[in-house]
Each structure stands twice: as structure tokens, then as C-alpha cells.
């Protein structure tokens, strides 16, 4: 029994020992690491207010109205000359006929106002009087007093009066200065009396010449004829169209506002000289000036009180600027992509009573206001960036998933070119075809968005496509935009319009872990 047990034991141990195996050790190497990853890259919510900043650079401003609608405004200012350079009282000469020195004289003068109107009052700040007298048969000394009963001192209300003794001279002059005196003209306009009083003469005669020169007024009151105050012109560089690469931008509701700020106490009429758009080839269109046209019968309101300014706004818009009669409307002209807008007016003082201060003037603030309301067809932009792509051997493939939720009323077609500028070779493009990156939203008839444009797509880059990109040193991005219903519908751009972009990447790598 013991022997049998030992035999069993040996047999079992032999079988067991045969199963144990010693192997040679080989130090293992590390394989390439080939992870396949999915990672979100970009998740941005952009509003137009992020992309388009309101700014005011003096002449050009980008702002929004109370509804958030973007407005591009070009502003320019034109100034007129001041009244005292436009409306003048020339030097006056009155010949006093000979009269005996034994009687006093009351004479009536009528100033020359060059047909500029009928004055009731002229407040003078300067004016030189000289009365040159010539006497005959003079017997003794006498005193001459010259009095203007209706030329009153502004402060004391005393009439202007000057006296002089003859000094037994046959000829002598009597002088004075009208500064601070107001001329109150007689009804009928432009006339005032003056008295010559002789004292101490018993014989002889006198004649003379009355000169009033260097007349400067501070205020004229009366009725004024049509007096043009001079051509006021301005020109704006409409730079939004300068970056046009290719395509059309059509604004549905542009307008021009002319703010006439007048300190004339007399209404004026605009008297448009020209209102034009100038194009890249230097051709031009004469535009219908809306309220500036004579047919509009618009006037520039007078200042209500002496020293004040009244602003009259005259506009050019879709309602009053139409095509026809040799003129194009503002909307039509802007749709052609002009480089400049220019205008000139020569306001005319109205044939009506009022006042003119010496410093009365007109300032015209012209604003070309372009609401971002309209349509774009095939508007293209292009830009170039430097790039360097390296280590592509580790990338087996990369797929990019792009999802956009578009609440900006534009459809965007984007293409990105990888180029080698040293060999002038175009290596590849990101999208195989100009496919929409941003799908246009649905808009209503008022141009407001009803529902967002949602789109997603995947762009695949296998290794065979990635490797050649190492040669690229420039990236050319070309974007072509158009408004929904390709360019046939007007849309509005509000600062609250937003765009969500989500980009994710699915890629597989092949990275050697052992150098």
C-alpha cells in the first residue's frame, strides 16, 4: 500500500512538473499610442453688438436706434458767412443845396441799401459823419448845428447832434461818429430827417456835402428782399462701399437730414445748387434732394428772438426723393455703391420782415443716415493670415463638426484656402465646395427674424489631406454673404441679433512613444 501511494505521488509530481515552463525574458517595447478623441473646440455665442461696436469717430458714427437697429451716419458741417459780410449798408453821400444862412433847414435823407430791402431800424456800431460846408458872402462867425432827430443814442435816447463854429472860414467840416446810435427810419423805409440850425449869421449862403461812411450795424430790422447768403457746400466720403470686393449692398431706407441752424431773424429758402453721388469711375448722379427741392416749398425757419438760433430739419428720404425728371432717388443712387455724396445750397433770405444781426449765420449739419435695413447680394470679403502647420505625421485623421444657429439675417458661404505663397500653389481648401457655413434664418416681410437658421456639417480631413498642409504658409479666408431669399428681401440688423457657433473635433493620432 505504501509503495502504491509513493507511485501515485511520483506520477502526480511528474505531471505537475511537466507543466511548469521557464521562458526567456525579452524586454518589451512600447507601441505607438493611438488614441481616438472627440473634443469640443469652440462654443461661442456672439451677438452683433459683440462684432459691431458702436462708435463715433467724429464724421462717421455707428449707433443704434431705440429698437436696436444699427444706423451708420456720415456727418458733415457747412458754415455760411456772417451777415455783416453779406448784407451791407454802403457809404452814403447827400448833397445839401445852397441855402441862406439866415434860415434853418430840415432835410430828408434816403439811404442807399442796394435793393436789399426796406429798413425800419438800423442799430449802428460804427459810422463816420462828415459834413463839408462851403459858405459865400460870409459876414460874421456863425454856428452850425446838425441834428438827426430819429438817430437816437441807444443809451440816452438823445438824438444825434453835432455843432461847429464857422470861424469865419469859407469852408469847414463838421464831423461825428454814429457808434451806439440807432437809426429809426421813417415809414416808407430807408429815410430819416436831419436838421441844420444856423446861429449868429446875418448874411451869406451855405451849401455842403453830407457823408456817412464806414457804416457797420449790429442789428438791422425791416423787410428784406431775396438776398442769397452764399454757396454752402459739403462732401462726404461714403467709406462703407470702399471695401466692396464683389457684390451689391442695397439699403432699403437711407435718408439724409439737413439741420439748418439759423440765427437770421428772417426765413430763408434752401436753394439747392446740387445734390450728387460720385462713383468710383468719377461718374455721378444728380439726386432728388427731397425737402431741398424748390417744389417742396420748404423754408428755413427764422430765429425767434435776437441772439437765438432756430434749427430746421429738412430731409431726403424714400417718400420725398424719387426717380424721375432727370434725377435719381437717394435709394437708387446709394444702391450703385458710390464713393462720395456731395451737396451745395445757396440759402436765400426770404422777402419778408424780420431782423438780421451782424453775426447772423447759418450752419448746416448734414447727416447721411443709413439704417442697416436692406439686402445684400453676393457681398464678398477676403483676408489673409499667416499659418504654420506642423507634426502632422501623428494625425491619422481629423473630422470637424460645425453647428451654427444663426439669428443674423445673412447667409454666409465661407471658403478657406491653404496656400504656399513661395510657389504660388493652392494646396487645399477647407470646404470641398462653397457650402453655406451659416444658414440664413427665416425673416418676415418687415425684415425681422422669425426663426433661426440651424445647420450642421462635418468636414473630414484624412491623413492624406492633412500632410500636404505643412507646406502652407498662408490662409486665405473668403466669405460671401447675402441676405435670405437670395438677395430678394430686405432685412434688418439689430444689435441683439446673435450667432451661436459650435465646433467639435474627432481625431485619431498615432504617436510614437519611443524615439
Amino acid at each position: 500500500m505504501m509503495k502504491k501511494n509513493i507511485l501515485y505521488l511520483i506520477a502526480i509530481m511528474a505531471v505537475f512538473a511537466g507543466c511548469v515552463k521557464k521562458e526567456k525574458f525579452i524586454s518589451p517595447t512600447l507601441p505607438n499610442w493611438q488614441p481616438e478623441i472627440g473634443v469640443p473646440l469652440v462654443n461661442s455665442q456672439l451677438t452683433l453688438s459683440d462684432l459691431i461696436k458702436e462708435r463715433n469717430n467724429g464724421n462717421i458714427s455707428l449707433s443704434t436706434d431705440t429698437n436696436g437697429l444699427y444706423l451708420l451716419t456720415y456727418t458733415d458741417t457747412a458754415f455760411s458767412a456772417i451777415a455783416q459780410d453779406i448784407v451791407k449798408i454802403p457809404d452814403q453821400v447827400y448833397a445839401v443845396p445852397a441855402f441862406p444862412l439866415t434860415s434853418n433847414q430840415v432835410l430828408l435823407d434816403s439811404i442807399v441799401f442796394n435793393g436789399q430791402g426796406t429798413l425800419t431800424q438800423a442799430d449802428l456800431k460804427a459810422g463816420d459823419l462828415s459834413f463839408n460846408m462851403l459858405t459865400t458872402d460870409l459876414a460874421e462867425n456863425f454856428t452850425v448845428t446838425l441834428t438827426f432827430p430819429t438817430i437816437l443814442n441807444k443809451a440816452t435816447n438823445a438824438p444825434f447832434s453835432v455843432s461847429k463854429n464857422s470861424g469865419m472860414q469859407a469852408s469847414f467840416s463838421l464831423t461825428g461818429n454814429f457808434a451806439g446810435y440807432d437809426i429809426h427810419f421813417k415809414p416808407g423805409g430807408n429815410q430819416f430827417d436831419f436838421n441844420i440850425t444856423i446861429t449868429g449869421a446875418t448874411a451869406g449862403t451855405m451849401s455842403g456835402t453830407l457823408n456817412i461812411t464806414n457804416i457797420q450795424y449790429s442789428l438791422l430790422q425791416g423787410s428784406f428782399n431775396s438776398i442769397p447768403i452764399g454757396v454752402m457746400a459739403s462732401e462726404s466720403d461714403v467709406s462703407i462701399f470702399k471695401n466692396l470686393f464683389q457684390g451689391n449692398i442695397y439699403f432699403a431706407d437711407p435718408r439724409v437730414e439737413f439741420d439748418f441752424e439759423s440765427s437770421f431773424g428772417v426765413q430763408l429758402t434752401p436753394n439747392k445748387q446740387y445734390f450728387q453721388t460720385i462713383y468710383q469711375n468719377n461718374s455721378f448722379d444728380n439726386m432728388n434732394g427731397g425737402d431741398l427741392e424748390p417744389s417742396a416749398n420748404k423754408v428755413i425757419a427764422p430765429a425767434t428772438t435776437i441772439g437765438s438760433t432756430t434749427t430746421t430739419v429738412l430731409t431726403v428720404n424714400n417718400a420725398n426723393s424719387t426717380d424721375g425728371g432727370g434725377l435719381v432717388s437717394l435709394k437708387t443712387a446709394l444702391s450703385k455703391g458710390p464713393q462720395k455724396v456731395k451737396y451745395a445750397v445757396n440759402p436765400v433770405l426770404g422777402n419778408m420782415p424780420g431782423f438780421i444781426k451782424d453775426d447772423s449765420k447759418i450752419t448746416i449739419i448734414g447727416k447721411l443716415i443709413i439704417p442697416f435695413y436692406g439686402r445684400v447680394t453676393s457681398y464678398s470679403l477676403q483676408d489673409t493670415f499667416a499659418i504654420k502647420i506642423q507634426h502632422t505625421d501623428s494625425i491619422q485623421f481629423a473630422d470637424f463638426y460645425i453647428k451654427t444657429t444663426n439669428n443674423v439675417p445673412l447667409e454666409l458661404r465661407l471658403q478657406v484656402y491653404f496656400v504656399d505663397t513661395t510657389t504660388y500653389a493652392r494646396i487645399d481648401s477647407f470646404f470641398t465646395g462653397a457650402i453655406p457655413l451659416l444658414k440664413a434664418p427665416i425673416v418676415d416681410l418687415n425684415g425681422a427674424i422669425i426663426s433661426a437658421g440651424i445647420d450642421d456639417q462635418t468636414v473630414t480631413f484624412p491623413h492624406a489631406r492633412i500632410k500636404p498642409l505643412e507646406k502652407a504658409n498662408k490662409l486665405i479666408v473668403k466669405a460671401t454673404m447675402q441676405t435670405p431669399n437670395p438677395g430678394s428681401q430686405d432685412v434688418k440688423f439689430f444689435k441683439t441679433n446673435n450667432l451661436d457657433i459650435k465646433i467639435s473635433m474627432h481625431a485619431k493620432f498615432d504617436i510614437p512613444l519611443v524615439k
Partner: protein, 442 residues
């Protein structure tokens, strides 16, 4: 406020040991085992020394194929939840005495084990990338660490009957050091088309006794000899049914118990979630003056708290069902099925043959299917000349191995689990079984 958390204390199954009933230490696996001697004594340090190392995920030959690492293959072989285990147990003392039809025993064991559990999804994520989880999530909740150092005091009792042997051990557990990571939720979700990444975390690290000074082990042991702040208890139960002279069936359930950690306790909790859905690009100088600070955003997404609540860890229960067929008096065929649960249920099956040579030598050879690996050839040797009983038992002798560049480092190529237990017991008084009466010849 007493804050109860329930976690696991580690133990490792030993399949071959349970068949070696003539060795006292087999009661650790089979509490109803009936020994061959009246008395068994275990002296400090030499009675039993156990060491085990396990990686349930993959073997060396599944990780390395030819002359290169094949991580994809290792991942393919791994389960959803895997762990790496290392443990050392040393018996300090034992005494077992036969009293009439019963056996009464007492033992003290020192146990240290550590387990790092790793989900397959974590390795897949790191090696193969996150794309595989699109529309789904990488479940990392089973990621964890468990470390235990405790002392076990056991009182055992086995009653031998005509048909049934009933046995059990009541154990008092004296905990010293514990570290336990538990994740209620830890995952990384990857959205389907956009690959948005969402990380969710709700987990905690509990520690006890980690701030002790371990630089002088002798001083540490002396200081903690009577430290019973971390108390626990466990029990083993077993029964053997003797169907006839040939067939025996036994059942046992081991390590039903817990340790309550109360001294030098710290809890580190983190809870929260965050999603990365891409860089939020801002137009330079845009009206939106806010900016995304991703580091701050990450910090703010997770709430971190430190507390000092006591907690409880459970011992890992093990269930065994065994069968023994006595081919002859000295040759036995053995079989067992076992079940344990750590992060997941794991079953094992063992078959073996025991051959005894007289009363001095016995050899047990086993073959175990464990952790989806068939390559576990085990051995148990008992040499018993006189009162000295030398034994060696292992569930896995290295079937395939090689030496690395370092001569003393052996690399098991096809094994997922290696363990061995060796020791010397003192045994006295062999129990003689009554001979069967035969009918006199006519």
C-alpha cells in the same frame, strides 16, 4: 454626530488551504475542518506567513505579446471592474485542543492588505481616447483604494458528529490603519455629436491612523499594542456532511463582520460636476466684458470638504462549497466552488487531488479557475515528522515564468494571482480513527 459609512475590509480567498484539514490554518478557510491531532500550537512568527499578489485584469502574457506591449489586448481581456491586490498576513499565536468530540481553538493573526481597484473604462480612456464613449459615459466609479492593517483575535469551536461536523470562529478585530476610497459616482460623459465633456464626481477618502509615526516599527507596535479604539468583529461558520465513507460535502461562510474606525479619523469628500463644451471665444474688445477663467470655473464646480466622522468598513465575505471523494484512505479527490464580492461578484472553482504517504507526508495538487484564468496550478505540502508540522500551500505555482533583467525578479507570465502560505506548527497526539469491524472468516 456618528456618521456611518459602510466600506469593505479586505481578505483574499485561499482555495487550496481549505482542503488541508490536517493543518490548523485550514480553519481560516474551512471552519468545520477536523484535524489529525489532539493539540496544535503555533508559535509567534513561524506558525504562518502568508503573502499574496493579484491583478484580476490581465496577465503578463496578455499585456506583452512577442516583444512589444499590446495594451489593446490587455484591455480586451480586462473586466469592467478590476483590482490589484497585495497582502501579508503573519500568525502570532494559535492553540487548538481536542475536548471529547469538539475542538476548541484560539488564534492571533496580524493582517495587512491593500487593494487598488481600477475600472476598465479608465484604462480605455487613457489609452484609446474618449471617442469610444460618445453618446455614453466612462464609468469610473469603481476606481478606489483600500488599505488595512489590523489584528485578529479568534476563538474557534468545531463539533464532530456522526454525520455532521459543525464549526465556527468568532473573531475580534483590532484595527490600526485604514484608508478607503469610495466613489458613489465618478464618470465622464461624452456627448454624441458635439463631444461635450461632463465630469461628475461624488466620492470620499476615509482614513484612520494615517497620522501615526511609522518610522520606527517597534515603537509603533508597542504604542498600539493596547490600542482598541478601532474595534470590530467577524465570524466564520461551516458545516461538513459525511454522506458515507467516500463522499463528504462541506459549506462555509467566512468573514462576516466589520471594523468600526474611530481613532484619528479623517474624511475627505469631493462632490460636483462640470461640463466643458468648448472655448467660449470672445470677440476682442467686445461689449461682453466677462471672461471665462477655466481654472476658477473648475474649482468652483466641485465642493471639497474635510470632516472627522467615524466610519465602518465591512470584511469581504467568502462562501465556499466543497466536496471530497475518498478514492482510497490515502488518496482523495477534492472540489470546491467559492464566491467573493469586491466591487463585483467573483466566482472560482477548484479541483484537486490529495495523496498521503503514511502519516508523515501529504501532497495536495489543485487546479483553480479564478478571475477568468485557467492557469492556476496550486500545491499544498505537509511534512509532519514527529511534533513538527511543516507546510507550504499556494494556489498558483508559476506555470510560465521568466527572469527579468534583475536575477531575483521573477515574472509570472500567465498568472493573475500568486500566493503562498508557509509555516511550522507543533502538533501533538495523532487522533486514531476506529477500525471497522469485519465479519470473521468461516
Amino acid at each position: 454626530m456618528l456618521f456611518l459609512q459602510f466600506h469593505t475590509v479586505l481578505a483574499q480567498s485561499e482555495h487550496t488551504l481549505g482542503f488541508m484539514e490536517n493543518v490548523f490554518q485550514s480553519t481560516y478557510s474551512n471552519p468545520a475542518a477536523i484535524p489529525d491531532h489532539y493539540i496544535s500550537v503555533g508559535l509567534p512568527g513561524i506558525s504562518s506567513a502568508y503573502m499574496g499578489v493579484t491583478n484580476t485584469g490581465f496577465t503578463y502574457n496578455q499585456l506583452v505579446r512577442g516583444d512589444s506591449f499590446d495594451i489593446n489586448n490587455a484591455l480586451k481581456k480586462s473586466q469592467k471592474k478590476n483590482f490589484v491586490y497585495a497582502g501579508v498576513n503573519v500568525d502570532i499565536f494559535h492553540l487548538r485542543i481536542k475536548a471529547r468530540t469538539s475542538f476548541i481553538s484560539f488564534h492571533i493573526s496580524e493582517k495587512t492588505d491593500a487593494r487598488f481597484s481600477y475600472p476598465k473604462d479608465l484604462l480605455s480612456l487613457a489609452w484609446q481616447g474618449n471617442y469610444q464613449f460618445k453618446g455614453n459615459k466612462a464609468d469610473l466609479a469603481s476606481l478606489g483604494v483600500d488599505f488595512n492593517y489590523y489584528r485578529e483575535f479568534g476563538v474557534g469551536y468545531v463539533r464532530e458528529g456522526k454525520k455532521w461536523n459543525i464549526g465556527g470562529t468568532a473573531k475580534f478585530l483590532q484595527g490600526f490603519v485604514n484608508a478607503h476610497v469610495k466613489n458613489k459616482n465618478l464618470n465622464l460623459k461624452v456627448a454624441d455629436q458635439t463631444y461635450d465633456l461632463t465630469a461628475i464626481s461624488n466620492g470620499s477618502l476615509n482614513t484612520s491612523g494615517m497620522s501615526s509615526d511609522f518610522s520606527d516599527p517597534k515603537t509603533y507596535l508597542m504604542n498600539n499594542l493596547t490600542n482598541f479604539s478601532n474595534r470590530g468583529m467577524a465570524f466564520d461558520l461551516g458545516a461538513t456532511y459525511k454522506h458515507n465513507d467516500k463522499w463528504n460535502f462541506s459549506f462555509s461562510v467566512n468573514n462576516i463582520g466589520f471594523i468600526h474606525w474611530a481613532k484619528d479619523v479623517k474624511n475627505y469628500n469631493i462632490q460636483g460636476g462640470t461640463t466643458f463644451d468648448g472655448i467660449h471665444y470672445k470677440v476682442p474688445n467686445s461689449n461682453d466684458t466677462s471672461h471665462v477663467n477655466y481654472t476658477d470655473s473648475l474649482k468652483n464646480s466641485f465642493k471639497y470638504t474635510e470632516t472627522a466622522h467615524k466610519y465602518t468598513t465591512w470584511v469581504i465575505p467568502q462562501f465556499y462549497a466543497r466536496v471530497k471523494y475518498n478514492l482510497t484512505k490515502k488518496t482523495m479527490l477534492n472540489g470546491s466552488l467559492s464566491l467573493e464580492r469586491y466591487k463585483a461578484f467573483r466566482t472560482s472553482a477548484t479541483i484537486g487531488v490529495t495523496q498521503k504517504i503514511g502519516n508523515i507526508f501529504s501532497l495536495l495538487l489543485t487546479y483553480t479557475y479564478q478571475y477568468r484564468n485557467l492557469d492556476n496550478a496550486g500545491i499544498g505540502i505537509v511534512i509532519n515528522p514527529g511534533p513538527v508540522q511543516l507546510y507550504f500551500v499556494s494556489d498558483c505555482i508559476l506555470r510560465t515564468y521568466s527572469y527579468s533583467s534583475h536575477p531575483f525578479i521573477i515574472i509570472p507570465k500567465d498568472a493573475k494571482s500568486i500566493n503562498f502560505r508557509v509555516g511550522i506548527n507543533l502538533v501533538f497526539g495523532r487522533i486514531r480513527l476506529p477500525e471497522k469491524q469485519t465479519a470473521p472468516k468461516k
